[in-house]
């Protein structure tokens, strides 16, 4: 059967629309993502001490990520499904390679140096894990049976633990939630979800023992930041001061005093939301959250329109993971979650997460723009 999009048949042609459609780009998603990226430049300029170099570097990365997104949007989703297991296996191997190399090197090792560029296998795992779980579950009837649950659970736990061992708590959390997202959308029974939550809560003391000292510090700091105001609690306290002093309307663009006077560390990376909140206030924060929700809603809509189980599970899980990203970062900056190294998606300074995120959106666009033609009923 010929592959055609529905909109090509019925929508009146417009030049830009036509071009975007030919590019397999989903317009609402594209517009939402571009708006967030533009907003990112606006905030980075202020948070990065108005350094144009910072902006140019980030713009180059974002441009590259958009190119990758467009390229992936062209791939037929059938190909993603076909290579899911292979890509997952490859990702795991690279992850092991990094771990083994880390044994010989010093301290944390997350990078694989390929000479011309450095590559972080854990980023690849963020996408290949939901692909793998979706592929595995889609082979069977839904909702998944206990045996399939067990195997899917293993597929999630192995990469999660490998990344947690690097140690990169933030990424392992995102990988786990992307896999768990697939299980959730596959119809994992509520009773089971409740049971797992109870068990996890029961496991907390054990988890405490497994955690590295610095990870424990972060949790303790989260529980009581005032205990160590100049050391580990400094981030959270300063971040709260910055956000709270922003008020309803904020201090205006470039008006952040906390990041300028060096009160707020990591103001361009993980804590950039604090600068945003200080400059644009509650009004800006709610608008930004609304923008994120629009993107997420569009993704969930794409998931409901997907035509096979694999695409559906993958699309919904990617949308869900994106939300987890937003929630964990903002939650940590406003002091309702412990500090884990998760950037504010598409806004924090840094290239790796932008590339992975937009790759995910590329897959979503591919799923949406490669649908087989179905007439209106």
């Amino acid at each position: 059967m010929k592959t055609e999009t529905r909109s090509e048949q019925f929508d009146p042609p417009s030049l830009l629309g036509n071009i975007l459609r030919k590019l397999h780009i989903d317009i609402p998603l594209f517009v939402g993502l571009s708006l967030i990226a533009l907003l990112s430049f606006v905030i980075l300029y202020s948070a990065g001490s108005q350094d144009m170099d910072v902006l140019i570097r980030q713009a180059a990365r974002v441009a590259l990520a958009f190119v990758l997104m467009t390229a992936l949007a062209h791939v037929n989703p059938y190909q993603f499904k076909r290579y899911s297991a292979l890509l997952f296996g490859l990702g795991l191997l690279l992850l092991l390679a990094v771990l083994i190399m880390g044994q010989f090197g010093k301290g944390a090792q997350r990078w694989l140096d390929l000479g011309f560029f450095r590559f972080q296998p854990s980023e690849m795992i963020k996408i290949t894990t939901p692909m793998m779980v979706a592929w595995y579950l889609a082979e069977h009837a839904l909702p998944p049976k206990p045996k399939q649950l067990l195997i899917a659970g293993l597929l999630i736990i192995v990469p999660t633990l490998l990344i947690a061992k690097q140690p990169d708590l933030g990424t392992s959390l995102l990988v786990a939630s992307s896999g768990a997202g697939v299980l959730f959308f596959a119809g994992l029974s509520w009773r089971f979800i409740l049971a797992i939550c109870t068990i996890l809560t029961g496991l907390t003391p054990i988890l405490w023992h497994v955690m590295r000292p610095y990870q424990r510090d972060r949790v303790l700091t989260f529980l009581n930041p005032e205990a160590d105001p100049l050391g580990r609690g400094y981030h959270i306290i300063q971040s709260k001061i910055a956000i709270g002093s922003g008020g309803i309307y904020g201090k205006g663009w470039l008006g952040s005093t906390q990041s300028e006077l060096d009160f707020l560390p990591e103001s361009s990376t993980d804590f950039i939301f604090a600068v945003f909140a200080e400059e644009f206030g509650l009004f800006g924060c709610v608008s930004l959250l609304a923008l994120y929700l629009l993107v997420i809603s569009r993704c969930l809509y794409i998931a409901t329109q997907a035509q096979d189980t694999y695409s559906r599970l993958l699309a919904s899980s990617l949308a869900f993971t994106f939300f987890v990203y937003v929630f964990v970062n903002i939650g940590m900056v406003i002091g309702v979650l412990p500090v884990v190294g998760v950037p504010l998606p598409l806004i924090s300074y840094g290239g790796t997460s932008v590339v992975t995120l937009l790759a995910g959106f590329g897959i979503l666009m591919s799923i949406h723009t490669h649908k087989k033609f179905i007439p209106h009923s």
Binding site: L142, K240, I243, C285, I334
Partner: protein, 614 residues
């Protein structure tokens, strides 16, 4: 799977999936609402509280920078100190028209365009509201000139700070080194917290090797500030730990003697205290003034140093690689005795050349006509090449390599200075690996007289000489001595000495030969042995810079200065109870006995003379 079964399944799946999407949306909206509630709490309910914290009275953390440790020589003379210096600093955010201000300042104080450019570069890297220096090390006149017109320059001010100063300038520049502004590469590797507030870091020499000790630990003060960011009150402070003072084994009197004695020649002198390994002299000539590097050397001045033919920035004592020439002979002779390859009394006839069996090539002696029949002592005293060609041939390269390596040739001495070169002690394996070639017998011969592939640093020569003087107990050179007890001349810690377990009678025979070099009528360095009541043991060396043709005659006056032989000399004294070992290398100095030996003689006499007075 049947078509109908799948279809039924699909409907169930569809319903289930839509339910889950709705559930997910609800969860997402609930969690987002949670975030918004928290934001409302922070930004509306808590706004006035946080705004007060942020604006009216903020706690600012200011780094308290430690004072860098001083460096002293063995007699307590200052080698590196911190002096008050004044710099002109600008806060761009407080200046209305920066370009106009800069051009007015440029006219007023005669500032070069280069400095302005440098300032612009540095300014871009700074945080906002941070002051950036435009002019450092201001003279009294400049300060006075600016003070008069200061009201017309808002945002520009004179700041006092401590600047590193090296009173001995070029004399010990290579050892003490210098500090310079922290550059971008260093910014990435240095611990940020420790260097918050520090602008300089040790670049070379002791300043670099002992950066951690000299720098100290940065403290901090929590300062309450008002709306304008001015300090009102110090809430709490953790004082800095000042940098450690370092006491070197170096003796600046001896260092000056050696440095001056090198005169216009390029070269190096290293003197080591035999018993401890403490370095007394570490001179490399030409030197350079390290002081301009501290405030940022002008580009053309730096280029001039970089491109100078004499390479003043090059630490010859530590990194200079030279063929050791005949200074290698005592060690080769000792190898012969230790391996029982020859007895000290055995005589070899020297006709002025040496030939390998069945090869027509003649390996020449430096003395045309030869030395006649010589035993080991004669061969060392007169530096007979033929004797050592023959001995090298008997020993073979493998045994020579193994033996010389134990004296530290071909490896770093382990001195507490960064950037040391290991030199080269050739072997069969090395040649196969590096050049993919077999070892030739002729190469064994020239290794026996310290030529060929062999390359040593002056420091290695001094160390090997000290080890020989120490009767085979390996000496490890060091510069910084006991920081806890600066009054004692003891080293920081007694370095465990490896004992090469050489036979004392063998060493004594070698030393006897080396004593004759200075005190025998035929000695190659007899000029320095007069008027002293102790004996010096030594060995001269002349290292070829280029190879002369088989039949050509080496004539010093005919050839270009840069191609003249290097003059070398190793020595220790007193011969019966060695206290000091000295190695001298003079580039293009000609014959070792006539130019290099007197320098070592001066250092030895001054050191032993001083010691006797005490």
């Amino acid at each position: 799977m049947s078509q109908i079964y799948t279809l039924k399944d699909k409907q169930v799946e569809n319903r289930l999936f839509i339910n889950r999407i709705i559930a997910a949306l609800i969860i997402i909206l609930l969690l987002t609402s949670g975030l918004i509630v928290r934001l409302v709490y922070l930004q509306i309910v808590g706004h006035s509280h946080y705004a007060t914290l942020a604006k009216d009275n903020s706690i600012k953390i200011e780094p308290l920078v430690p004072t860098r440790g001083m460096v002293y020589d063995r007699k307590g003379r200052v080698l590196a100190e911190n002096t008050q210096s004044f710099s002109l600093e600008l806060i761009p955010e407080q200046i209305k028209d920066l370009d106009d201000t800069l051009s007015r300042l440029q006219k007023l104080l005669n500032i070069s365009d280069e400095k302005i450019e440098q300032y612009q570069k540095q300014r871009k890297r700074q945080k906002r509201f941070a002051s950036t220096p435009l002019l450092m090390g201001m003279s009294d006149e400049e300060i006075a000139k600016f003070a008069v017109v200061r009201p017309f320059f808002p945002g520009v001010d004179i700041q006092a700070s401590l600047v590193r100063h090296y009173p001995y300038a070029d004399l010990a520049a290579h050892v003490v080194g210098y500090v310079g502004r922290i550059n971008e590469a260093e910014m990435k590797t240095l611990p940020i917290a420790e260097y918050r507030g520090s602008s300089h870091v040790g670049k070379i020499g002791i300043e670099n090797t002992y950066e951690n000790e000299l720098h100290g630990k940065t403290g901090y003060a929590e300062i309450e500030t008002n709306v304008q960011g001015r300090a009102i009150n110090t809430v709490n402070s953790v004082p800095p730990v000042q940098g450690e003072n370092l006491y070197l084994t170096l003796d600046m009197d001896l260092q000056k003697t050696a440095y001056d004695a090198l005169g216009d020649f390029n070269g190096a002198v290293v003197a080591i205290e035999v018993k401890t390994g403490g370095v007394l002299v570490f001179a490399s000539r030409p030197g350079f003034d390290p002081n301009p590097f501290v405030i940022g050397i002008a580009n053309d001045a730096y280029q001039a140093l970089q491109k100078s033919e004499n390479q003043p920035l090059y630490n010859r004592a530590l990194r200079g690689l030279y063929p050791p020439g005949s200074t290698m002979k005592p060690f080769i002779a000792l190898a012969g005795l230790e391996y029982n390859a020859i007895s000290a009394e055995h005589k070899i006839f020297c006709p002025g050349y040496y030939q390998l069996p069945n090869v027509s090539h003649r390996y020449r002696d430096w003395k045309k006509g030869g030395h006649g029949s010589v035993n080991m002592s004669d061969a060392i005293t007169q530096s007979c090449d033929v004797y050592f060609y023959s001995l090298a041939s008997t020993l073979g390269i493998d045994r020579m390599h193994n033996f010389l390596q134990r004296f530290g040739f071909g490896e770093k001495s382990g001195i507490d200075l960064t950037g040391e070169k290991a030199g080269l002690m050739p072997s069969r394996e090395w040649k196969r690996k590096q050049r993919n070639q077999a070892w030739y017998p002729g190469e064994t011969l020239i290794t026996g007289i310290g030529q060929g592939f062999l390359q040593v640093t002056p420091l290695q020569l001094a160390r090997a000489t000290a080890t020989l003087a120490n009767k085979g107990k390996v000496v490890t050179p060091f510069l910084v001595r006991n920081a806890a007890n600066p009054d004692s001349l003891e080293p920081e810690q007694e370095t465990p000495q490896e004992d090469l377990a050489l036979k004392p009678e063998n060493i004594n025979k070698i030393i006897a030969g080396m004593v004759n070099v200075i005190h025998d009528a035929h000695g190659t360095a007899k000029s320095i042995g007069k008027d002293i009541n102790y004996q010096i043991a030594g060995k001269t060396g002349t290292a070829q810079v280029f190879t002369i043709k088989q039949d050509a005659k080496y004539n010093e006056n005919d050839i270009d200065f840069k191609l003249r032989d290097h003059a070398l000399f190793i020595s220790f004294a007193p011969a019966d109870d060695p206290k000091i070992a000295v190695a001298v290398v003079m580039e293009n100095g000609g014959h070792g006995g006539s130019v290099a030996a007197p320098i070592a003689g001066q250092v030895i006499k001054q050191f032993l003379g001083d010691n006797n007075e005490n």
